[in-house]
Symmetry: none
DNA sequence: TATGAATGAGCATTCATTCAT
DNA sequence: CATGAATGAATGCTCATTCAT
């Protein structure tokens, strides 16, 4: 009941082996880390030749950047859909945001882990771009917290700090989650939502 | 007022260059990651020759293990002192535990970051030993949460899950903390304590 | 008249630098021994880069194994041709076998020396394979001795022991032979044949 | 009946750890070859520290030289004793020489193997000295063969060549001998003596 | 004698990347 | 797009040797 076969992060891009390479890179970076994984590892995983990698990505670093971009895009998309479909109050919106985040972590744990652990190895320009994209996610949460603080739904002071702490906890899920764990995907999402709302000192939450 | 010059994690061990090597390794692994940093980097940082490193540690992997062991020992020691000196109620104990943890993160952020990011590169045996040691820390938090749940101080269900989430958030601090940030060390500790108690649904906490 | 420029052991294999690498390895291992010669020595001798060696052979040990395999193949081939072309009696067959062996030693002394001295450094699996191949050579001699013993051509008891001793002496030739020595290739072969037949106690031999 | 526990080549020299070091070096060079064995291996085997080795021998190369010198001294001594105690005729003398040689091979196989395989790694001067010492051994055999050729006991022409071939075969014994083999030490010696005399075309030998 | 710490050179091997085809 | 061969730089690690004690 609990099982959920992880699905490839990147679907066919309409460009030959591109998706296979990106997914193999995700796998390799996830298993051995950016510096621990070699381009040969990636090529082997993608079922293509080493040199062919360079027909798609000009460098290992750019390959990592693309992997992380795809991961972040997927997360952001899910987040926006969830928040848009939620009710108007901050509690509902936060609950849906947390749920969506947790579901992403469960569906694409490896992508989440790699995103967390390997950003630091991005080249300057790519790093900055990703930081900006990540800030968008953070902004979603901050805005909800701020809304709740204004409406009295959340009593925590310093909305930005609190939002960051909530996100820290959510990102942390990827580090310990195991698909065969006690909680189902839905239960895990529910639990994390409760933690978030409690942390934000929502008087109605429990 | 906010500044606090980070102090070496490892003090003189009474064995030649050992402390210098451990501290240089921490620095190097922190800056470039385990696989990104070379033994030459470590040697340079320690002011000794590459080959001399191997008179102290038989491999890069064992060097990492020793760095992480020292870091964890320091954290565990601080934690136990803090909890022992706290009052008897769960709220006080949790507050002190969180404060001690945050102070460790601030004092030894690099050690904390490396501990979080590079454990995965430990060899089998070393990995297991560290996991055991880490579980001791987790046990401290779990026990406090369980105590609070029993006494009614915390209303959160599933003490173990909640404790893990609190710890996730605290470990996360090391990833974004900057010494020149808005909050002083004490304020940061206070804030995190509040988040933790709120998350645990302590009715008296705020 | 005596000179005979040693010819490369390995001819073009149709795969880029492979033959050049094998021959350079033979030269290097012969000059400095397996552990005394470095892959850099081999690369230099083959006129290619160090790293390119690994596009052909996955390790120094496997490179040695291939060198020895080529050497043994050549010896075995020559031996079989010689014995097949000899008369039916044991004396003729032994004489031709010894002659062929000696000619191989003279033509590929280095290969012979390396085969003798460096087998021990082969990895388990490669070692076993070569031992099997070598046993084939020994079997050729044993069988001839056995035939001669049965027909009365050789009066030595224990054909297997005698065959081994003959082979020991032949292999020993590679250790002291000098191309500028007193005896020509043919004379040397003749002399060794006489020694072998005498050792086997062939009444007609002299 | 066949067993004969190999005894240390070098007995106490009256100089601290010297004998232990020499024997450990023999063991190490025998197991891994001169370049494959490290001074650390030798130190470990001798139960002393790495640096202490240099109080006894100024270099690895000189250590090898001393090992080989001790081995050759023992062989030469045994050989001279055997020949001196033999009768006056060439056949008896040759038989005793071969017997003594074989017994040395059996008693100190490792020393024999190392002598054969690692001489080539000796430094110029040490190499020359050992070659001279070895020539003494060869001279013993040559002289016996020459005597036998003169007296008609041996009918082989070219005494020097024949002597060399006999010695080649004897040295070869060390490469294949196993203490648990079919033949006892005495039987092996007898067999080799028969081979030698046959090779030398001694009409009375069989 | 004996040791532990130190070192510079060297080792086999792997790396990301390039290029001719 | 795809490949196999090629390369220079780097990697973790070991080496014989030295030296202060």
């Amino acid at each position: 009941m609990n099982a959920r076969s992880t699905v490839s992060l990147v679907g066919d891009t309409g460009r030959g082996n591109e998706a296979a390479i990106l997914n193999a890179a995700l796998e390799a970076f996830g298993a051995k880390g950016f510096h621990g994984a070699s381009m040969r590892d990636v090529a082997r995983g993608a079922g293509t030749s080493l040199s062919n990698l360079y027909n798609y990505f000009p460098s290992k670093s750019r390959l990592l950047a693309e992997v992380l971009r795809h991961a972040n895009d997927e997360l952001v998309t899910r987040l926006h859909v969830a928040v848009d479909e939620a009710g108007d109050d901050a509690v509902s919106r936060m609950r849906e945001a947390v749920r969506a985040y947790v579901r992403f972590v469960v569906d694409h744990q490896l992508a989440m882990v790699v995103s967390t652990n390997e950003v630091r190895y991005l080249d300057g320009e790519d790093r900055e771009r990703l930081v900006v994209d990540r800030d968008a996610t953070q902004a979603v949460f901050e805005q909800i917290v701020a809304q709740g603080a204004a409406s009295g739904e959340f009593r925590t002071p310093h909305p930005a700090d609190a939002a960051r702490t909530v996100l820290s906890g959510l990102a942390g899920v990827a580090q310990w989650y195991r698909p065969d764990g006690r909680l189902s995907r839905g239960q895990l999402a529910e639990q994390q939502a409760r933690y978030a709302l409690a942390l934000l000192e929502s008087p109605l939450a429990h």
